[in-house]
């Protein structure tokens, strides 16, 4: 397997994505070249991270730092509705985030996955360890 695990060149890239910069609890809100942005908010007592853009080797560490930082809420929701591309580095980052959140007694949710990203998550079996929900609302309620 080449490094990009399930790479889809056909999937539109996140060109023109506006990076949302927000420094919460010490993580950088933006990866190089604006390809990935992570915005943080507190909703119903949960950390909600809105992730937008592409997750690859360069940008994956940002996702991990963001998820690890959080505010220490019991529930951390990754809103993936704006994620258009993810390679094997993204898989790694999600697993690491899952472990980090779990270690401090929290639970990690993945929400609003686009179909092509959902398929990758499903094939590599991530849905067997990370809780996946159709929407952020579902993740907050469940």
């Amino acid at each position: 397997m080449r490094a990009p695990l399930f790479h889809f060149p056909g999937v539109p890239y996140g060109v023109g994505t506006t990076a949302v910069e927000e420094n919460v609890a010490g993580f950088e809100g933006r990866a190089e070249e604006h390809r990935l942005s992570v915005a943080h908010s507190r909703t119903d007592g949960a950390d909600v991270l809105t992730v937008t853009g592409e997750i690859d080797r360069d940008s994956a560490p940002l996702l991990l730092r963001a998820a690890a930082a959080g505010s220490g809420a019991e529930r951390t929701v990754l809103d993936f509705g704006g994620v258009t591309f993810m390679d094997s580095s993204g898989i790694n980052a999600l697993i690491a985030a899952h472990r980090t959140v779990g270690e401090r007694g929290g639970r990690l949710f993945l929400a609003a996955l686009r179909p092509e990203i959902a398929r990758i998550i499903e094939i590599v079996g991530l849905d067997t360890v990370i809780l996946c929900r159709d929407s952020v609302g579902d993740a907050l309620k469940s």
């Binding site: 397997m1 490094a3 695990l5 898989i91 472990r99 179909p115 398929r119 094939i123 590599v124 360890v129």
Partner: protein, 571 residues
């Protein structure tokens, strides 16, 4: 064409009726003379021509005069388009040249002056052409010494030779072909012996080619080829210096006559002795990255020694050869990774009564993109057949090595009797981080057991595309159960097992993502395409099913593919 039945003066004429008379006329001429027919073939020749050309009439008659005789100053074949004699011949006019060159029977080049003129045989049939030639008197014998031959090589000819060298050598990525072409380029044009010594991957010197130009033939002297002693660090001898990339040099038998300072000097002494070379030019074959070897051009039959003025041209040729060899070597080294994987790491299939299996491994067309895709099948102690197809994240050798580690560990864990697939893969996953270099991997591990009235499949899937089951009737479905997390994450999970009945004459397909993942389409589209084609091909014999499926489904190929197909018996 040369008649065996003819002897003596008759041998100087071809069978055409008036040839005998023509031959008589030619004998009266006090210079070399021959007549060619409308096709340019020699029909008659006189004794003086036989002597000058060092060829018997039998060797001349019927041959194309241009091809056989006419040469450039270095003895190189002359394109008919550049031949003044040929033009006059076609135009049926008289022409002459003061300085030109014919090839003698012994391979040497004869400097000649010639006159060509139309010749109508006495019976009036045919439009023949007479060629009269002689050796200009200013030089004894007229045979060009090598020195003069080189001087005659114009700047234009040198550039043309170098351009030809580049074109011919860089148009192949095969080391053998590159060397063959190099030999063809320099023989017999520049020398009558060529020796190529190459430094191998393991820093050994290998005398790769020792070739002699024997007339038009190239003779390989394999007795002189083979491994060479190592290159001495300090030796001032020409070949040692060239192989260290230091400098080019002219050498002769006397160079290696004194007490040898190294094993290489001993070999060189032998080389000069056996080949009879009286002069040799030795230049390094050096690329921008390394010294790849040395090129030796030698003269034995031809007279005249090489001089320092010859070296720049030879160095230019060697440099171009180095570039081509360097490319070819890099390419072959990369290809070898794929070949190594296929030939040594991937196993032969076990023979299981009743079950048929087909396996394929296709490296990515771009040889640098060899991945860690693999398959395995083996028989367990209880008689069960174990199957695996997997994918290791990484590049080239790293991925190949990782997949070998994984495959061996899987075999070991699978060997313990009666362990369910899920447990085997759990153990494998626990061991990956501490004892292998693999960072991430996916695989499907399955067992096929003979059951009451059929076969049963049990499997677990670690983050891999799901197996495809196709019935004889062409119903195809993905086996999506038993799906768990990929390997190497460090997350402990309990893995699921799944089972399915394999109906009679059904086909189970395990594959890697290179088969379903294509630029410009989604994974789902790729998997749908695979299912459709697999269903359509279900009735085919297994081998042709596999080949045809790959042909139809495999995307234009940016990734490697491993595939294992299994078919159950039809009753």
């Amino acid at each position: 064409m040369a008649g065996q039945e003819t002897t003596g003066t008759e041998s100087r004429q071809a069978r055409e009726p008036s040839a005998a008379r023509v031959a008589e006329v030619l004998e009266a001429i006090g210079a070399g003379a021959y007549v060619v027919n409308e096709r340019g073939e020699i029909t008659a020749v006189n004794t003086a021509a036989e002597r000058l050309l060092d060829r018997t009439a039998a060797e001349l008659l019927g041959r194309d005069a241009h091809d056989l005789l006419h040469r450039g100053p270095q003895g190189q074949p002359l394109p008919a388009t550049r031949c003044g004699m040929r033009q006059a011949f076609h135009a049926r006019r008289t022409a002459q040249a003061a300085e030109d060159h014919f090839a003698r029977g012994d391979g040497s080049v004869l400097e000649v002056s010639w006159l060509v003129t139309p010749y109508i045989p006495a019976d009036g049939h045919g439009e023949w052409t007479l060629v009269v030639f002689h050796v200009p008197h200013r030089e004894a014998g007229g045979v060009l010494p090598a020195e003069r031959a080189r001087a005659a090589m114009s700047e234009h000819e040198r550039l043309a030779l170098l351009a030809e060298t580049t074109t011919r050598l860089t148009s192949t990525l095969d080391v053998e072909a590159t060397l063959r072409r190099l030999v063809d380029l320099v023989l017999p044009r520049l020398a009558d012996w060529v020796v190529i010594d190459l430094i191998t991957d393991r820093d050994e010197v290998w005398r790769t080619a020792v070739v002699e130009a024997d007339g038009d033939r190239l003779v390989h002297h394999e007795d002189l080829e083979g491994p060479m002693p190592p290159v001495p660090e300090e030796s001032p001898m020409p070949l040692s210096r060239a192989l260290r990339g230091v400098t080019s040099a002219i050498a002769g038998p006397q160079t290696y006559e004194r007490a040898p300072d190294s094993g290489i000097a001993v070999e060189q002494h032998r080389l000069f002795e056996v080949t009879g070379m009286h002069s040799a030019a030795i230049v390094p074959i050096r690329s921008t990255r390394a010294v790849l070897g040395a090129l030796t051009l030698g003269r034995a039959g031809k007279s005249g020694d090489f001089t320092a003025t010859d070296l720049p041209l030879f160095e230019d040729i060697a440099r171009r050869a180095a570039l081509a060899l360097d490319n070819a070597r890099l390419y072959q080294r990369q290809r070898k990774v794929a070949e190594t994987m296929q030939n040594h790491l991937l196993p032969q299939m076990p023979q299981v009564p009743g079950l048929r299996m087909a396996v394929r491994y296709l490296p990515a067309p771009d040889a640098s993109q060899v991945g860690g895709d693999w398959y395995d099948a083996f028989t367990l102690p209880e008689g069960t057949t174990a199957l695996a197809v997997g994918d290791v994240v990484g590049h080239d050798l790293e991925a190949a090595a990782g997949m070998a580690q994984l495959r061996n560990m899987l075999r070991a864990y699978a060997w313990s009797r009666g362990t369910p697939c899920s447990r085997v893969v759990e153990r494998l996953d626990e061991a990956i981080m501490p004892i292998t270099d693999v960072t991430m991997a996916t695989l499907v591990f399955a067992k096929v057991t003979a059951a009451e009235g059929g076969w049963e499949l049990s499997w677990t899937n670690a983050g891999h595309p799901p197996p495809l089951l196709i019935t004889r009737e062409g119903l195809a479905r993905y086996l999506t159960d038993g799906h768990g997390l990929l390997l190497g994450t460090g997350v402990r999970t309990s893995r699921p097992d799944a089972t399915a009945v394999l109906p009679l004459a059904s086909t189970l397909l395990l594959y890697t993502d290179g088969l379903v993942e294509a630029p410009g389409s989604t994974l789902d589209e790729g998997m749908n395409r695979l299912r459709q084609h697999a269903a359509a091909l279900a009735h085919r014999p297994l081998e042709s099913f596999t080949d045809e499926l790959l042909r139809r489904v495999r995307p234009s190929g940016h990734d490697d593919v491993a595939l294992l197909a299994l078919r159950t018996p039809d009753r």
